[in-house]
Amino acid sequence: MDMDKVDISVNISKDKKLNKNLFNKVWDSHAVKTLSSGQTQLFIDLHLIHEVTSPQAFGMLRSSSLDVMYPNKTFATVDHIIPTDTRQRPFQDSLAEDMIVAIKKNCEEFGIKFFGVETGDQGIVHVVGPEKGLTQPGMTIVCGDSHTSTHGAFGSIAFGIGTSQVRDVLATQTLAINRLKVRRINVNGDLKPGVYAKDVILHIIKKLGVKGGIGYAYEYGGSTIENMNMEERMTLCNMSIEGGARVGYVNPDQKTFDYLKDREYSPKGEKWQKAVEYWKSLASDSDAEYDDIVNIEAVEIAPTVTWGINPGQAMSIEDLIPSENEVKEEDKLTLKEALEYMDLKEHQPIAGTKIDVAFIGSCTNGRLSDLEEVAKYVKGQKVSSKVKALVVPGSMRVKLEAENKGLDKVFEEAGFEWREAGCSMCLAMNPDKLQGRQLCASSSNRNFKGRQGSPSGRTVLMSPVMVAAAAITGEITDARKLFNE
């Protein structure tokens, strides 16, 4: 590649006349070259790693005698396996202990910044990136975790990768990938009271299906999205992958810049204004072209919960569980399997279904604003004696900020356990697990069979406020009815 070409591509990204969307602008400015397979060699600005999907990648580097090309573009933390009751080392689970030892050692050996527990900055990788100001508009961001799409809330192109690709990014700061198509999803209007970003994304997945997004990046826009704060946009983008879309993003705007201003890794001084101008230039042009456009009215969206074994098997809390003849031919097989597994019946309301566990947390809904919103409603209420209820902050910073606001007391007084930061019961790689056939009302992102640690455990996904309502009544409940009375 010669310098002329490089200069041209910078100009293209700033050219307003090309009707380009953000995805294509960012892609073009990060394309190193076209590989012989036809894939793009894509430059990665920010690489996040955690303890589960990185150790094998470092092993591969060592066995090939390779170094990390840009150690200052990779940041690490520990989230999946970390216990949330006690941080005492060594962990009781020796396998978990091995993994935390390995990531620390790997980071030290290769010169990578590690946000361990001792730094006070540990947390779920998708909570830590934004709160440190590492996540910025126009960046390409990858992590060996499919919920990397979360970072798209800032107008970055962010997606999950496998461990061999983690190795590729460590060794070359690039990866081989095919360009995606872009689907614009407009959501317009005001959300009804008691309807949250979580309901919006569950509604979108229900409407477009769990594989509807394969081959696409989702660009979310419209007045509903513009009105969302950054944490709500993160919830939205987080679950793009559950709809099959590896990437989901929102164009950067003043809210994005306000969030990032003065964060630890945000540009400072003179650079800040230049950065903002550059970021603005990356937003999709007003006449940008898309491969597909979907329009959704906010008023259609109710508090949404899942009834099945994938996040597309979702319904309004007001509706009845669908029957076989209400779903598409291709979804009939999974419907039967799901109802059997969940022990639910078609044409019945889901409200009233007994729960055993309530989980508030995860990279989807473990941020400060999630906890603040729930705390408003649980103040003075009591968790049902039949329910084990956990609140797991997304990061040590979220925990600290919540405690500074006294939220821990509100939760504890209501009967919730107030835990340390981590992924916890979202995927139950740490000691927080369902037992047997327990049913969990969960603010996390996946309701797959066995997802929450028991091979026969059951998950119903919903917003954190809906989880709180279920915790209090002991059954799946329309939070609007419970809390407005």
């Binding site: 910078v10 060699q41 094998q56 997606f159 999950g160 461990t163 594989k211 790689m429």
Partner: protein, 199 residues
């Protein structure tokens, strides 16, 4: 780095029926507490194959006639969910060398190609037909020929789909992308410089 050129995969097949089979089902998260992929083969589809006491549930993968299978057949959106490479690694270590399905989740598909596992696509009808043939004759030999995009079985052949970039990488022995990415080091540095000076 020199890799095998993968032009053909042949062997017997095992049919794991179902749509939207996610990577948590392929490899439950509790088995990811490891710092190497070796040994993951025994945990592939663990909770579908074994009950909570570790007793076999007589899953197709555990039937004597399928134990040597090299080709896995399933439904649509295979491998959805998590990006964990542990999923294709567990299948690979169990003995799987190619997958036939109606469609695949994107990250899973990329992870498979990276390990040299071709993921080919057939229609629901074609898959159901093959499943019946395998049920009748579990030792039926299948041959996936990437050169001609044809699956040979019995006396017939069926045309399959596979994205061109994946097919080329496999056939030309470049399925593990690292070698080619490393070749572009100078271009990488130029791109890095350009992006760093964007503002």
């Amino acid at each position: 780095m020199s890799l095998n050129k993968i032009t053909k995969v042949q062997g017997t097949a095992v049919y794991v029926s179902g749509d939207d089979i996610d990577t948590d089902r392929i490899i439950p998260a509790r088995f990811m507490k490891c710092v190497t992929f070796d040994g993951l083969g025994q945990y592939a589809f663990y909770d579908v194959r074994f009950d909570e006491n570790g007793n076999s549930k007589d899953h197709p993968m555990d039937k004597a006639e399928h134990k040597e299978a090299t080709i896995l057949i399933s439904g649509k959106n295979f491998g959805c969910g998590s990006s964990r490479e542990h999923a294709p690694q567990s299948l690979y270590h169990w003995g799987i060398r190619a997958i036939i399905a109606e469609s695949y989740a994107e990250i899973f598909f990329g992870n498979c190609t990276m390990l040299g596992i071709p993921c080919i696509t057939l229609s629901k009808e074609q898959i159901e037909k093959i499943a019946v043939l395998i049920q009748k004759n579990p030792s039926l030999n299948l041959e996936i020929d990437l050169m001609t995009n044809k699956l040979f079985l019995d006396t017939e052949s069926i045309e399959f789909q596979i994205p061109e970039s994946s097919k080329l990488s496999l056939m030309e022995g470049r399925w593990d992308s690292l070698g080619e990415l490393l070749d572009g080091k100078d271009a990488i540095k130029l791109t890095a410089k350009k992006l760093e000076s964007a503002y």
